[in-house]
């Protein structure tokens, strides 16, 4: 068990995932309009500021109480079980949408966030980032990851609260305002 194996390399998701990875209600972690549901949306941009039409995102998050859910049923949703995971391809205008809940802090005082994996044609390996909720400024100010970042880069990880109660989080793969992407190894 002590021998470390070398991981298999990733490869781009390519242009043709669209008939394979999406599925019915993939981006609906709960039914739109149900109590507590919010819209999480954003646009994925390339280095020239163009929205890219062929990216696909996955989110993975605790429930509104900060509990990490280990329930099956993300691919065939029963309409009642919150599994914490969803998948959403961007549309032709580069916008992705999820219906989900505000994640709760996993422990008192912790900053609440959604974990994200990003795949795209032209992206040779997946990228990870986090979407933090904007409200608890004290928790954000004490968050280990955020405090390790320059102030202007830190803001790339914090979602905007929309007037309808939803969240907007744009992803910039390259250039000005480039999103902070994470390496966990």
């Amino acid at each position: 068990m002590s021998t470390k194996l070398v991981p298999t390399p990733g490869q781009t998701v390519g242009p043709f995932y669209g008939y394979a990875l999406p599925y019915e209600k993939d981006n609906e972690l709960l039914a739109p309009g149900s109590p507590g549901s919010i819209r999480l949306q954003g646009t994925v941009y390339d280095g020239s500021g163009q929205a890219i039409p062929d990216a696909i995102l996955e989110i993975w998050q605790p429930d509104s109480e900060g509990r990490i859910v280990q329930k099956t049923g993300s691919l065939v949703r029963d309409g009642y079980t919150f599994t914490g995971w969803g998948r959403g391809a961007v549309g032709n205008s580069g916008v992705y949408t999820f219906t989900t809940v505000n994640p709760g802090p996993t422990k008192p005082g912790a900053a609440a966030f959604i974990s994200v994996a990003i795949f795209a044609r032209g992206l040779t390996n997946r990228l990870f980032t986090r979407i933090y909720l904007p409200e608890d400024t004290e928790a954000l100010a004490n968050d280990p990851l955020l405090t390790s970042l320059e102030p202007e880069r830190r803001t790339t990880l914090i979602a905007r609260r929309d007037p309808d109660g939803g969240l907007t989080f744009d992803i910039r793969l390259q250039g000005e305002g480039e999103t902070v992407f994470l390496d966990f190894q």
């Binding site: 242009p15 390996n125 480039e178």
Partner: protein
């Protein structure tokens, strides 16, 4: 399942091909030949070989910045990835089980009324973590072109025949030993628009989850001995030969079934894990657990 797929294709708005046709490219791109691209690929390869000789650590993942793959030029982060210790949710993975995936979804040759064209194959192996432990009860998704190198995707405009008996999508849940197994058709090589006369080596896309979300990976499995390997900018985004070899399946006669299908073996190793495991988690779950993690 085939009906759903067709419905989705019908409802999808007509979209332009992901890359314009070569004949429509601006002249400066249209005249980029395989020789031009191979020069770039080889220059990067030579520089990497020199770096290795000078004591650099071998690279194990593709480069995000790999200009010969033209679509990556505006899509790679320019700042280095920020090292982070995974926390809370990142140390767990979504759970999938037999509610999510039907057992028949691992056979891509029985999704329609007739037999698909092409060479029937079995692709089987194990999903392991970096400690060699099996990743049990997890989701594996695959997708691929048909035997003539055509994807059932509107954006694929390669004038090769669509096979009405082959969609090219499969899923399974790994067994207690991390094993997966698909029955499918050997995909064909297909042309793309990276440069003039660009052809992808035959490959199957694989999507994998581990026990932690940090282990999430999408990759491509290739077939041994493909003559297109040195020419392909996507395969070559991995500059290290040992690392590239990890994407190439082995022909395995013990998986081959008499008068039925040729067998290929391919094991996948995920990174990590970072979380301290209990014996239960390592060997207990078969993918249908419904408890909540205690965080």
């Amino acid at each position: 399942m085939p009906e759903d797929i067709n419905a989705e294709l019908e409802s999808e708005e007509l979209v332009p091909p992901a890359e314009p046709k070569a004949a429509h490219l601006p002249l400066d791109r249209a005249i980029e030949t395989q020789a031009d691209l191979s020069d770039e690929i080889n220059a990067i390869g030579d520089a990497y070989a020199r770096a290795l000789k000078d004591g650099a650590e071998p690279e194990t993942q593709p480069r995000l910045d790999y200009p010969p793959y033209r679509s990556s030029i505006l899509r790679h982060p320019t700042k280095s990835l920020h090292h982070a210790d995974p926390e809370t949710i990142e140390l767990y993975s979504p759970a999938f089980g037999h509610q999510d995936v039907h057992a028949l979804e691992s056979d891509l040759t029985i999704q329609h009324n007739g037999e698909p064209q092409g060479e029937r194959i079995i692709v089987a192996g194990k999903v392991l973590d970096g400690n060699g432990r099996p990743v049990a009860g997890q989701l594996v998704e695959i997708w691929q072109a048909n035997a003539s190198g055509r994807y059932i995707h509107k954006r694929d405009q390669h004038p090769a025949p669509i096979d009405p008996n082959f969609t090219g999508i499969g899923r399974c849940i790994t067994g207690p030993d991390g094993s997966y197994r698909f029955t499918t058709i050997k995909p064909g090589a297909y042309p793309w628009k990276n440069h003039l006369n660009a052809w992808r080596p035959a490959h199957i896309h694989f999507s994998l989850f581990g026990t932690e979300f940090t282990q999430r990976i999408i990759t491509q499995m290739y077939f041994p001995g493909d003559q297109l390997f040195p020419l392909d900018p996507i395969y070559q985004t991995i500059v290290d030969q040992d690392a590239r070899d990890r994407l190439v399946a082995n022909y395995d006669h013990s998986l081959t079934e008499p008068e039925w299908a040729l067998g290929y073996n391919w094991d996948i190793v995920l990174t990590g894990p970072k979380r301290t495991w209990t014996e239960n988690e390592a060997f207990g779950t078969a993918g249908d657990s419904s408890e909540e993690a205690g965080e």
